[in-house]
Amino acid sequence: MSDASINTQANTGEASFGDYFALLKPRVMSLVVFTAAVGLLAAPGSLHPFEAFCAILFIAVGGGASGALNMWFDSDIDQVMKRTQGRPIPAGKVQRDEALAIGVALSGFSVVMLGLATNWVAAGLLAFTIFFYAVIYTMWLKRWTPQNIVIGGAAGAFPPMIGWAAVTGGVAIESVLMFTLTFMWTPPHFWALCLFMKSDYKDAGVPMLHVTHGRRVTRNHILVYTLLLAAIAIGMAFTGVGGPIYLTTALVLNGLFVLGAVSIWRRDETVAEADGYKREKAFFALSLVYLFLHFGAILAEALMAPYGFGGW
């Protein structure tokens, strides 16, 4: 590409391929890919490697499609919030209608292709996930209740269940527990972010918990959800997807996570502002590692099982 063409693009604000790709929320997609792959590999039974690759690809495309629908519907909010002002629609690179068209087309495409590649239970779960994220969360809960992130978090928790269903053609206690792990992890992860992102949600009029009920209540909620999460995460060690590696990982990570939540709970705004929300930022960073390592441990158990090491 010549310098001239780059300049022309910058002047006209015309969308590049990357701008359309950004509609699919690639960073969220990476989490979807990873957790879906773990669900798929931990499930009893097997798929042909090419089918497995296609299953993960179509789950990722479905997740991306719901991201595009979210950007279409929330473009007014995205324009107000600093964190989202650079997204393709508020940046003026992609039109709202284009995002809607891409979202709808990729939703249908991903569901049909996943059904053809694996089975229709997995495809049905993917369709429900897209519906849940785009309609239940984005259109309904997000602007209505401070519990938006709690219930809406379910959308991000479905991929391991879909991966599991792609192999087994059904739902099992293990896949439900993998869903629950991400479901319970989302609120403390997001509320910690809210504590140090301060006015963004307030400016956009989104009723996040810290906006409607205050920061003290948010800190209490982070602690309660972290304790519930720890019980579920450690309990999972004793199911079919658990084992010594997972148990060790879960004990260490949940110990650290609970300590982080207690430390956030014991602080007030004056102390937090004084040190630039250091503990809240550390807790948020830990939450990313937390989820990655939990699913990593499930994956390790599944990969070592054929050699007689994984599981109990």
């Binding site: 693009q9 590049s16 990357g18 089918e51």
Partner: protein, 53 residues
């Protein structure tokens, strides 16, 4: 034989067109690969094939 100078639009949208071309080509390979896997595994053999044998 000489090729005409590419239109400004082609230059401007080269990246986007290339991206779309790659996506569509990948889709062809995916459909081909899935078909190959499913047919060679016997997913689409007639149900009475074993009776005839």
């Amino acid at each position: 034989m000489s090729f005409r100078e590419p239109h400004e639009l082609h230059k401007r949208r080269f990246g986007r067109n290339l991206g779309v071309a790659l996506v569509l080509t990948s889709f062809i390979f995916i459909v081909f690969g899935l078909t190959y896997v499913k047919i060679t595994r016997g997913d689409y053999e007639p149900e009475n094939a074993s009776v005839e044998r």
